[in-house]
Each structure stands twice: as structure tokens, then as C-alpha cells.
Amino acid sequence: MTVAALKTWPRDVVLVASMALAELRHRRSLLVVSVLTVGFLVLYGWGVFEILPSVTDRVGANIREEDTKRGVGFILLGIAVFATFSLASVLAVFTTMSTVKGEAELGLLQSMLVRPIARSAVVTGRVVAATFAGFVYCAVVISGASLLTSAAGGTPPGNLPAVILALTAALAVVAGFGVLLSTVFGTAATGMATTMLISIGFFSSLVRQIGESTDSPTVAARADLVSHVLGFNVLYEGALGSLTAGVAGLAGLVIQLGPFGTQREFGSDLVLLTVAELVLLVSAATWRLRRLDL
């Protein structure tokens, strides 16, 4: 890359990303997502207000009421994080699945590729667009869910910004996979493949938990490796970890045993993992795009 190209690269990325976001807006995907998300938040709100105020009556008196509310509140927030990741990954998949082959097959991509725009910027721009959309989405939904939980008597997340950032990072990696797969497959196949990878991520997490609880270190280690290769799943667990960050005792334990994956600390190693994943995925996609005859 020349010096001149380095200077224009960020501009190119922003341009491509803004085009992708414009598409999202015009395709009314955002409208659909917003309506369904409001539906989710209404259900969530109804759920927390049903459960939290009366929770101590049901659990029994031998645990302090405050701890119980906290614990149950965190379980509910954990569900919200899971739901947000699932819903937002749909957004990430749909924003990226037609990036290369899908759009090329329609004849949409070529007029952009013949312009003086780096191929790496075309690929990166899409990931940036999906990540931006994911960030806004997570920020709104997680903040909404934590407000509802607090209002119903639960405790807010230990580190709300970290939850949002970890989820955003997970979505960026999902988008990276989407863009890379789109250089190999058409729209539908890419969408399916990316969605299946997400499922495999959750599955690997489950297998690791089973491996750990049945004393099978090899199984656990291999499942953990799969989780790390896929990346987004580990980051999702980082979001769960940030939920209870700094909260001692019972609450942390409850989440650890929850059905939606274990928690991890969202620290510098996960940030590094995100950066490494993104660099690898974007580089591979760029390499593929440069070699394709369109």
C-alpha cells in the first residue's frame, strides 16, 4: 500500500460503511429489527416485573432477600445478554452475507470495485457498518434491559459499558466471518453458514461445560479451542462476565451455572483476541476478493 493509499484508506472505509448503513436503512431492515426488539423489551419488562418483586416469597427465607434479588436479577440480565446477542447477530449476518459474491452476482458490486477504492476498504467497510449497527443495537437493548431490571428491584450490571463493548466485539467477529464467507458463497449459503457457525459457537461452549463438569479435560480443552477460534463466543462470555464484574458471592455463582455459557473476564486478552480475529478475517476476505474474477 502506498502512502497516498494509506491516507485515503480510512475515508474509503467510512464511505463503504456509510453505503452499507444506507442500504440497511433503505431495506427497512432497521424498522423490522426495531419493532421486534421493542416486542422483546416489552416481554422482558413484563417478565422482570412479574418475577423480581415476589422472588423472595418463592425462594424461601434462608437466603438474604437482597442476595436473592440480585442473583435472580443477574440471571434475567444474562437472558437479556443472550437474547441481544442472538438478535444482533441476525443483524450482523444480514448486513454482511451478500458483501461480495451475492452483490457481484446481482451486478451491484462491480460499479463500486472499478472505482479507486482499496479492496481491503470494501471488506473492512462492511465489517465496520455491521459493527456500528451492532453497537447501537446492543447499547439500546442492554441499557433498556438493565433499566427495567433495576426498576423491578434488581441490581444493574457490574460494568454496563464493558457488557456492551464485549457484545459489540462479538458482533464484529460475526460480521468478519460473514464477509469472509461471502467471498466464497452466495447470499443464502453465506447467511446459513454464518448462522450455523454461531450455533457451533454456543455448542462448543456447552461441550466445554460438560467436559469440565464430567472431568474430561481433553474434551473441555478442545471445545475451548473451538470457542477461541470462533472468537465471538468467547467474547459473548466476556459480556456475561462483565455483567457480574465486581459483584461478589452468590450472584456470580448463579450466572456461572446458568444455561447460556460460562462467564469470562472481558480484559485485554479478549480485546487482543478480537483484534487478531478481525485482522485475520478481513485479510483473508481481502485476499479472496483480490483473486476473484468478477
Partner: protein, 299 residues
């Protein structure tokens, strides 16, 4: 002449072509385009016209050979900044308006012409009233006009048009010819791929015919078309002599008169590009079928 594009021995074999029993889509094509020149690229279906154009605009990587656009290797950023391209098959986002699409391409091309350039371009292609019309509600012909305007954004030195009038009505086609002439007057060069020979004949300064991935003939349309012989109006009726050239005519008239014929009139016939094209393609066995691989290609 100063050349905008110099392509040398461009060869392209698509991946999997060998396995499928196909040979090179382009088998070593050398072609230059001068500044302000309109070059018509002709050839049967599958001859490699689109492949050539796509190599020049960086969408397809050549297997061998080189092409320089204003001295920059094709596919490079500098080369991309110097061309406009209208693909054979294209689509624009259905929600985009004509003006919005051009604005996007101004940004992509780094062109700073602003609203005045967009207005002029839409006017030029006959979409002056349609600036706010969305692609979704445009006819195919309107979309093709918009595509042409898109290819002209930023006044690129080279404009590659792959069958740009395939969806246009006769008036639209005539209009595009005028646009191309205007580009030439401004010093922009055009590579025009088309199957509409009379159209190419009217507008191109030079034509190149490729068949089976090879350049088989190249020259000015009038040169290629040549003469089509002569017609003699004799007492016995009209007699056509396709083999005669202009310089043969006085002697032939003298011979006829000496032979006792009544010659009422002589007309020199002009050949057409179409005839020249058919002859050339016929000679080279370019029947439009994809070229066969050198060996084992029949499986």
C-alpha cells in the same frame, strides 16, 4: 498518437476453464486506444469482449500480458481513478435516486464536480427531468442511461462501455452516439463493445474484431468495410459486380460499351462493416462457440 490504453498480449484463462474443456477466454490480445478515440470492440458471443473490458477496469485478473492506462497498470488505484465503466449486466440499488447514485459515485471516484456535474450528466444522457426518480421505478432503458452517466462521473480519460445501448430505443441509441461524439470532442476515449454494427460503424474511429479470444482484424470502419463492388444499369437489367473496385470502373464501362452494351448508369457500392465482420469472423471460424481447449477438450 498519444495512447490512453496500451494492452499487450492480454491473456485470460478463467479458473476451471481447462477442466471444462474450454481454452483461453482471451488468447493474447494487444490493443491500444488513442486519446479522444472511439474504438469499437466487436465479436461473436463469448469472443472475449467483456473479458477484455473487465481486465482493463480491474475486475478480472489477466493470466498473462500487461495493460497500462495512462502509464498505470490496470487494476491499480491510479488506473481505476482514470476510467469509467458501464457493465454489460449491472444493477443499482433500487432505492437510489438518479442524483443520489451519481453523488455516491462522485464520492467513490473522488470527483469534485458537485451538483452541477450531476445535473449536466443527467441532462447529457436525457435524464434531466429524472434526477429524483428512484432506480426501482426506472425502465431498463432509463437505468442504462443512468449507467452511462455514472460511467462519465469525474470525466475519466477512458470510458469502457459494454453494450451500453442494448436496452435503448432507436432514438436513445442515436442520442448515445451523440454523447460519444461529444466525449471524443472533449478528448475522452471510449471503448465501445457492441453487437450493433451499423451503430459502431457510425461512431467508431477504429474497430477491433475479436473472435475466440483473438484479435482478428483492426482498422477504420470505412477501411474494413471497403467497397462493395459496383452496379451497372444495362439494357438487360441491373448487373452487380461485387469484385470491382472504384479504380476498375472506367475500364469496365469502356469494355461494356465496346462489347455493344447500352450503359444507362454505374453506381459504386459501399461495403458495410457488417459484411466485413461476417467475412472476417467466418474466415476465423469464430462462430460464437466457446473456444475448444487444445487437447482433450471434447469431454
Amino acid at each position: 498518437m498519444d495512447s490512453v490504453l496500451v494492452a499487450q498480449e492480454l491473456r485470460k484463462r478463467y479458473r476451471g476453464a481447462q477442466r471444462k474443456g474450454r481454452g483461453d477466454a482471451l488468447g493474447g490480445v494487444s490493443l491500444s486506444i488513442g486519446r479522444g478515440e472511439i474504438v469499437g470492440l466487436l465479436g461473436p458471443n463469448g469472443a472475449g469482449k467483456s473479458t477484455f473490458a473487465k481486465i482493463v477496469c480491474g475486475l478480472v485478473r489477466p493470466t498473462a500480458g500487461s495493460a497500462l492506462l495512462d502509464g498505470h497498470p490496470v487494476g491499480s488505484r491510479a488506473a481505476q481513478a482514470r476510467l469509467g465503466y458501464l457493465a454489460e449486466l449491472f444493477r443499482y440499488p433500487p432505492w437510489a435516486t438518479a442524483d443520489g447514485l451519481l453523488r455516491t459515485h462522485q464520492r467513490l471516484a473522488g470527483a469534485d464536480g458537485g451538483a452541477s456535474e450531476r445535473g449536466e450528466l443527467l441532462e447529457l444522457v436525457g435524464l434531466g427531468d429524472a434526477a429524483e426518480v428512484k432506480v426501482a421505478s426506472m425502465s431498463k432503458g432509463m437505468q442504462q442511461r443512468l449507467g452511462l452517466a455514472q460511467a462519465l462521473v469525474g470525466r475519466p480519460p477512458l470510458v469502457l462501455l459494454d453494450e451500453p445501448t442494448s436496452a435503448l430505443d432507436p432514438v436513445g441509441r442515436a442520442h448515445v452516439r451523440e454523447v460519444l461524439k461529444e466525449l471524443r470532442d472533449r478528448g475522452q476515449s471510449v471503448l465501445l463493445s457492441s453487437h450493433l454494427l451499423p451503430e459502431v460503424e457510425q461512431v467508431a474511429d477504429r474497430v477491433a474484431i475479436i473472435a475466440r479470444g483473438r484479435l482478428i482484424i483492426e482498422g477504420r470502419p470505412t477501411e474494413l468495410a471497403g467497397t462493395g463492388g459496383a452496379e451497372f444499369d444495362l439494357a438487360s437489367g441491373i448487373v452487380r459486380r461485387p469484385e470491382l473496385r472504384r479504380e476498375d470502373l472506367p475500364a469496365e464501362v469502356a469494355r461494356l460499351v465496346a462489347a455493344g452494351e447500352q450503359v444507362y448508369g454505374v453506381r459504386e457500392l459501399r461495403g458495410t462493416l457488417e459484411e466485413a465482420y461476417l467475412r472476417a469472423v467466418e474466415e476465423h471460424g469464430g462462430d460464437g462457440r466457446p473456444p475448444a481447449a487444445p487437447a482433450g477438450g471434447d469431454r
